[in-house]
Symmetry: C2
Subunit: 342 residues, 2 copies
DNA sequence: TGACCAAATGACAGCGCTGTCAATTGATGA
DNA sequence: TCATCAATTGACAGCGCTGTCATTTGGTCA
């Protein structure tokens, strides 16, 4: 096994060993067309033999690319971030790209400037935008101005232009509401997500659609404005439980908020799920660890982001994209937090 | 404002504008000594004016560095990872380094090979090892062989040679156990962390020390072997609660396991915290969201990793390190999961 | 005043690769 | 058979910077 004390092989060594020119090796490495199969094989053999690894710096300098893409996120739950990273990493690893992570405050406009500065500094070739960053057209415009390719991980909306992957939040929300309905609940509260996140609207729509489809009316007093976090979930649940005719079930737009609802109910001494059924959205680790364990919806975050990364990398390679966008489905995870109303 | 359509300024443009040579600009950028103050100022002014940003690729190629460091972790909780990333990111951002994240399976040796391959491929200059990776001497040796600098984020043990930051787990474990003791508990169960993580031992030691200091004996039957995760925590708690003389309090070596204990107790209809007090370790998001909210220990993870990154970068810059290692203290976060025994 | 020396600065090659464009090859059809 | 042309391959410059080593500067001391 070659020790690292021996100098690293360069493309030149490979060319010599394979008996071809520099440029031909370069073509093989970059999977360019117009290389004879037999030549390609020779080169691959030489690469193998020398354990050659191209230098990202040299490639970057010569080709003015960085082979780096950034994953931009604005602090959703840490489990969301972790799962997204996992997906991005997987795709990047397979495609020979590096991944730079970049948390950012999605609102303040000066932060956008700072973010762009960072991205330019590291010379990333492209960026993956996760919600709610993908809801921000200004950011996308600025990225385009800077000539940074981008792909959005976004809820399903008709109007997307560029690369994107989405997930059918509305349908999932409808399904989980239907699950509650099927258990016999008719007064179902809903705790909205953060108003600036477009997913919040999607999920509300699913909720409404389920009710309407079964002939129920949408009662505005059963809908509270949350902000996706535990504290807001708890507060909203308290409001709902204080109603003269409180709901027998609550659908919270995130697991964190659903946990808040659980705690609010516990504090009032309610028996769960008998006196209050609760469902969440996200399938965060908490969902399985709270009491009772939450029924919730799992988005295929890792797969979505991985797919987004591949889309982006394909674009950077100027490969004709198979699909400009793809849609993923969520999955219900039913646990112990739902029962028929007492 | 210069549009990106104009070509990016190069070091050459800066040199010309400042009226100095290429090399002098390079010296200023790299904070090398032996540059006159007035010269430095001229250069900085020119950099400012041109909005010059050095090209990482060119610097990397010419200097055979990458200005990239890797954060290696082996799937502790996602909140741990997120907080560690945050710290690393902060330091890297400030120091002009890029951060590559690298989850990895810490055990299988072939994985170590794969990991090294990836690190070599991306040509990182250094790596930050978080527990339990920092417990693996083989990995450290291999990194050294490959000439990749590294710094360990590790529990406090006397024997460290290289760069490291640590945290006094033992002391924190002792303190939280003392808290339980102070509430009047005398039969305190302990759920150990994963046997392969050295922190598990540290925390056990703190637990034992607290008991001994107050004149209690360490009762082996009150100590269960967990694996840091929720499921093992729940199982261990069940074992403890099945004892003919069950403990009145449990100190779990992680919040996930403490949540497991909480659920086990709920399932038996115990009144919490009256009939069972529980404390955890980590201050994960769950800790504040479960019921009752967990008293736990918070490690300054972000600060530790940030400090580790700075240590590493200093080393890479060949700056004389202020300290080869530094120690951080944990903080108790007391919430609602502890009360005197009924 | 000049010799001497460290500090400050500069000239230049070259890091390892890709883009451009030119040269070669080999197959095809007249 | 030879011109023709696409497919394949190669030569070479140059991406933007840093390392090495040479040169200049300015101060100090005899």
């Amino acid at each position: 096994m070659p020790k690292s004390s021996e100098l690293k092989a360069t493309i030149y060594d490979v060319a010599e060993l394979a008996g071809v020119s520099l440029k031909t090796v370069s073509r093989v490495i970059n999977k360019e067309p117009n290389v004879r199969g037999s030549t390609r094989d020779k080169v691959h053999k030489a690469i193998e033999q020398l354990q050659y690894q191209p230098s990202p710096s040299a490639r970057g300098l010569a080709g003015s690319k960085s082979f780096l893409i950034a994953l931009l996120y604005s602090n959703p739950s840490s489990s969301y971030v972790t799962r997204a990273q996992q997906g991005a990493l997987e795709a990047c690893g397979a495609e020979g790209f590096g991944l730079l992570i970049q948390p950012c405050d999605y609102q303040s406009p000066d932060r956008v400037g700072e973010l762009l500065h960072r991205l330019k500094e590291s010379r990333v070739d492209g960026a993956i935008l996760t919600p709610p960053l993908s809801d921000n057209p200004q950011l996308q415009q600025r990225l385009a101005d800077e000539n940074i390719a981008c792909v959005c991980v976004a809820p399903r909306t008709g109007e997307q232009g560029g690369l994107s992957v989405c997930c059918d939040d509305e349908r999932a929300a409808q399904q989980i509401t239907e699950h509650l309905l099927a258990q016999g609940h008719s007064r179902i509260g809903h705790i909205l997500g953060h108003p600036d996140h477009s997913v919040s609207q999607q999920r509300l729509r699913g909720y409404e659609r389920a009710l309407l489809a079964q002939g129920f009316e949408v009662d505005r007093s059963l809908i509270q404005q949350g902000r996706f976090d535990f504290v807001s979930g708890k507060q909203c649940a308290e409001e709902l439980l204080d109603l003269s005719q409180p709901p027998t079930a609550i659908f919270a737009s995130s697991d964190d908020m659903a946990c808040g609802a659980l705690v609010a109910a516990h504090e009032r001494g309610l028996k769960l799920p008998g006196q209050l059924s609760v469902v969440g959205f996200d399938d965060s680790p908490q969902a399985a660890q709270c009491w009772p364990a939450l029924s919730t919806v799992r988005q295929p975050i890792s797969e979505m982001v991985s797919s987004a990364a591949r889309l982006l990398i394909g674009e950077l390679r100027k490969q004709p994209p198979d699909d400009i966008q793809s849609t993923f489905q969520c999955q219900l995870h039913l646990r112990d937090s739902v029962s028929p109303p007492e």
